[in-house]
Structure formats: structure tokens, C-alpha cells
């Protein structure tokens, strides 16, 4: 137990040092963050404007009214932002496999996956948070969502679980490069799939697709099911505020599976020739 705490403390210390260094890089190159601060929020605000337009035409989407959709959209963008901050490196794992970037991590006394994600901390993910929070607050006001302690904890638990599901899937897709030996860049596809299946209710899709998104590739748990639970909307798997905890559990399971896949893949790692 003491050893575990000691290890956790060590990792926390290194993480803080990395965040500090990431901030210093931004201060050194301030122009780069300005670009992100403008382009990222615009992307999501435009996305939300589209939803607003659709709802204005049809009244609602699959039983979800405007406020509820804003709530869903906002939380989806927030968990996306968190996953960007911590796990975006997963998109580029293929390049690291081919270029031999893991050499450096393997010769240091810390977890390889930890170093892969945290030695280049993506502070720009914060710029995604802003539109997420704006739309989410808007959704809260529209739906009259009550911020009780239980609800607040539920949302926090859900965001962590959702970020884990996203991150775990990035890791799994990235790890395929250990087998294919090619630098597949899944970033854009994953982003598309996640956007389409987490920003809108998946109940609008065919049942077979819903089944896949619930049980096989559990993207439904990123935002649709937990938000349905919070909003009191009935879904195929039932309603309940407990959904947020299922999201959390699914997140842990996906992350563990991803870690296992990464470990097995790493044994096949071939570094890069000189």
C-alpha cells in the first residue's frame, strides 16, 4: 500500500512537471494557441447551429427536444475535450510505432503508455472545452436541469467514463499498428464516428446499429445512455440515473482491454532501423 502510494505520488509529480513544461512551450509560442482558440470553438458552435436548424424544422429529433439535445451535445463535446487533452496521442500511435518513438519510453523507468500520453501533454484540448461548456450550460437552462449533489457527481463520473471509452478506443485502434506495421492514421475517422454517434441520440439509428453501438463498440455509453438517464428519457436498455455509473464501468473495462492489447502489441514492437 505504501509502495503504491509512493508510485502514484511519483507519477503525479512527473505529470505536474510535464504540464508545467507544456505550458512553458505555449508561452514560448503564443501564436499557436491563438489559432486553436479561434478554430476549435467555431467548429463546435457551427455543429450545434446545425442541430438548432434541424430542430427548428422538425420540432424535435426522435423525441429529444432542443434543450435536451443541447445538454447531450455539450456533454459530448466536454468528454471529447477531456479525451483530447489526455489521449489524443492515440491517434498518432501508428507513426510512433513506425518511427521508433517507443525506444525512448522503453528505456525509462515509467509505464510506456503513461509516457506516450503524458510526455507530450496536449494543453490545446482546453480550447475544445469552451464550446462544450457553453452549449452544456445552455442545455441545463433550457431543460431546467437541477444541479443536486447527486447530479453533479453523476456528470463528473460520466465525463471520466466517457473520456476513458474514447481514449481506450483510440489506444486500441492505434495498437493495430504493432501488427500491421504501418502508420494508420485513424484520427479523422474516429472523430467522425464519435461525432455522429455521441452528439445525437443513437435511438435515431437502425436497431442493428444501435445494438453494435451499445454492446460491441460501446460508443452509446459515451453520452447517449448516461444523458438519457439524467434526462429521464427511456431507452432500449431502460432508464435510470445509474446509467452514469455503467458508463464509468464501461470506461474502465474498455481502458483495461486497451491496455492489454497495447501490452501484447508492444512485444511485437520492432523499433526503427538506423
Amino acid at each position: 500500500m505504501k509502495k503504491l502510494l509512493d508510485t502514484l505520488g511519483h507519477y503525479l509529480d512527473v505529470t505536474l512537471c510535464n504540464i508545467k513544461l507544456a505550458l512553458m512551450v505555449i508561452i514560448e509560442y503564443p501564436a499557436s494557441i491563438a489559432g486553436w482558440l479561434i478554430s476549435n470553438p467555431i467548429q463546435f458552435i457551427v455543429g450545434f447551429a446545425t442541430i438548432k436548424f434541424v430542430v427548428a424544422q422538425f420540432g424535435e429529433i426522435n423525441g429529444w427536444n432542443y434543450g435536451q439535445l443541447a445538454f447531450l451535445y455539450g456533454l459530448s463535446v466536454i468528454s471529447h475535450a477531456v479525451s483530447m487533452m489526455f489521449f489524443v496521442q492515440g491517434w498518432f500511435m501508428g507513426y510512433s510505432v513506425i518511427e521508433g518513438d517507443f525506444d525512448r519510453y522503453l528505456t525509462r523507468p515509467l509505464g510506456v503508455l503513461y509516457q506516450f500520453f503524458f510526455t507530450t501533454f496536449n494543453i490545446f484540448g482546453i480550447t475544445d472545452l469552451i464550446p462544450g461548456i457553453v452549449v452544456f450550460i445552455y442545455g441545463c437552462i433550457e431543460t431546467g436541469f437541477r444541479f443536486t449533489l447527486g447530479n453533479a457527481v453523476g456528470i463528473l463520473v460520466m465525463i471520466i467514463g466517457a473520456a476513458f471509452i474514447r481514449g481506450g478506443i483510440y489506444i486500441m485502434l492505434g495498437s493495430t499498428s504493432f501488427w500491421t506495421k504501418s502508420a494508420n492514421d485513424f484520427g479523422q475517422y474516429t472523430q467522425e464516428i464519435f461525432d455522429k454517434s455521441t452528439m445525437y441520440p443513437i435511438s435515431m439509428y437502425p436497431e442493428s446499429l444501435q445494438f453494435i453501438l451499445t454492446y460491441l463498440i460501446p460508443i452509446g455509453w459515451v453520452s447517449f445512455y448516461p444523458v438519457s438517464g439524467l434526462m429521464g428519457i427511456e431507452t432500449a436498455v431502460g432508464i435510470g440515473s445509474g446509467n452514469v455509473w455503467i458508463t464509468f464501468a464501461v470506461g474502465i473495462i474498455v481502458m483495461l482491454a486497451a491496455g492489454l492489447m497495447f501490452r501484447i502489441g508492444l512485444r511485437r514492437y520492432e523499433s526503427a532501423g538506423n
Binding site: D13, L106, T107, P109, L266, E270, S271, N274
Partner: protein, 325 residues
Amino acid sequence: MIRVNDLHKEYHVVKKGQGLSGAVKGLFKSEKLTVNAVNGLNFHINEGEIVGFIGPNGSGKSTTIKMMTGILTPTSGEVLINGQNITKHRKEAVRDIGVVFGQRTQLNWDLRLEESFELLRHIYRIDKKQYSETLEVMDEILGIGEILSKPVRQMSLGQRMKGDLAASMLHSPKVLFLDEPTIGLDVGTKYSLRKFIKEINRLRKTTVILTTHDLGDIQQLCERIIIINSGVIMEDGNLSEIVERIAPYRTLKVEFYDSDIPKHERAELISEDNNVACYKFFKSELTAAELIRDLSGEKAIKDISIEEAGIDDIIRIAYGIKNVE
């Protein structure tokens, strides 16, 4: 300090047919080739040794170094660093090693050197006192002080290499692995790098394992060399003993006053160019003094120089490359 037991590494290469038809066939039926990059290595290295690890490109030398540093997982066999199996207990075992690859840096391009060092200080949990002591030593040997606040991206190759070396020594590892550390460096930087290696070996008893194609590195640094080719050890032993055994001859270069070059019955005339001639002779048969005396008896000598059997000869012979002179 380091023990390598029956180390193997196999790669599987999928053999592809030529052209589009070959590629399509490959989709259905692929032929897998097994390549034995490293094929049963056994050796151990004691504390404080400087060992040169040499071999031609594709010999398995890099693969071996990468297995020894925990980067590659061996197909079978084991590597023990200070008694710890680096494959099974990577995190513990790598605390004892420092690794520098000549062709890539472990420093962060975006940061100043001292910031990269600061991160390493946290990663290896080096206490401040030890950290500043090590930095002082590094400054003394490498002159690291003047580049500490320089961003890595603005560094010359030589400066970056110095930075990398210092970075690898911050946690005072027992073993230092250097993979082609002098590649592409100018003479002055090479000199200070070699001095650095000798100094840390002397001061800290750091064991150094070095791969290089630079014969100067080997001659000046290594008492022991391990020659590897096709994944097996060709030679392992004291450098001068190996030279003595594989290439027990010397070359005498003589400049005469004209191009009429005399022959000698116990020395082979290996080249002549106008009035300059090279004689190859075996130490056991003839001394240099005798050869010079005999030659000067026949013709007047203007200038001479003696070359020991070059380590390049050793490498040529061990690599199985024919001398094309």
C-alpha cells in the same frame, strides 16, 4: 554487470510476389520467412569495462543493443542487467542504464536543455544535491554549462550530442549504452566525446557498451571488442590480442629518392606509387629495424612511417570482406 544468455531474435517477413498479381496472391496465400537477426548470443560484461560492439550493417548488432536496453523483446534467451531481467522487470532494470542513440535524441525539441533535464530529474527521482553535482561534473568534462539554456532545436549536432550524453548520465547509471555516438560529428566534438567516455568510466566506474563504425572510437576507447555478424559472435576478446591473432603484421611505408623500388624477400611489397612503397611484414619473422636496415642498404631512404595492423584489417577479415587493394 551484464549477462546475456542464449539470446535469440526472430523476425517474420512476409514474402511478397512481384507486381499486382503477386500482391493479390499475397492476400490469399502469404509466404512467411523467418529471419534470425540474432542467433544465440552468450557473453557477460564486468563492471567498469568499455566494450566495443562492432559489426557491419544488418549484422544484428543494433538488434542486440536494443534487446539489452529493453526496447525489443527477445524471442528467447535473457538479458540480465545488474542481476535483473530487463524483459521481465523493465522499469527496475532500466534505472541502472543510460542510453544514447547517435541518430535520435531523447531531448524535447521544444524545450531548453535544462528543462529536459528537469523532467529527467523528476522521472528518475534524483535529489537536488546529486543533480547539481552531476551537472557540475558534466560541465567540467563536456562544457554543458554554456548550452543549458539553449533550446534543443537551435543546437548543432555536436551540442545536441553533448546534451544527450549528459542527459543519459543524470541518474548516474551503472551501464551506459552508446549506439553510434560519434556519427556525423566533427573531429573536435569526437575528441571531447571520447574524453567524456574515458572520464566517466574512470571516475564512476561506469560500464560502457559502444557500437560504432568509427575505428578511432574503438582504438582509443575499447580494451575489449565483440564482433558480431549474421547474428552470431565472430570474435570476443581483448582488442590487441585479436589484432595480434587475426592480423599479426605491420606495414612499413617508405619514401625513396627515386622510383626504383627495391624488394625484400621477407616482406611483401603491397603498393608502390612513384617513389613511395608499402611493405607488409609479419612481426614474428622480421623486425621493423631489420627491414629498414636492409632497405636502406640498397637505396637511400628519405622518409618512413610504420602502421600497426589496422583495426580496419581486423574488421575486414572478421566481416569477411576481401581486401580489394
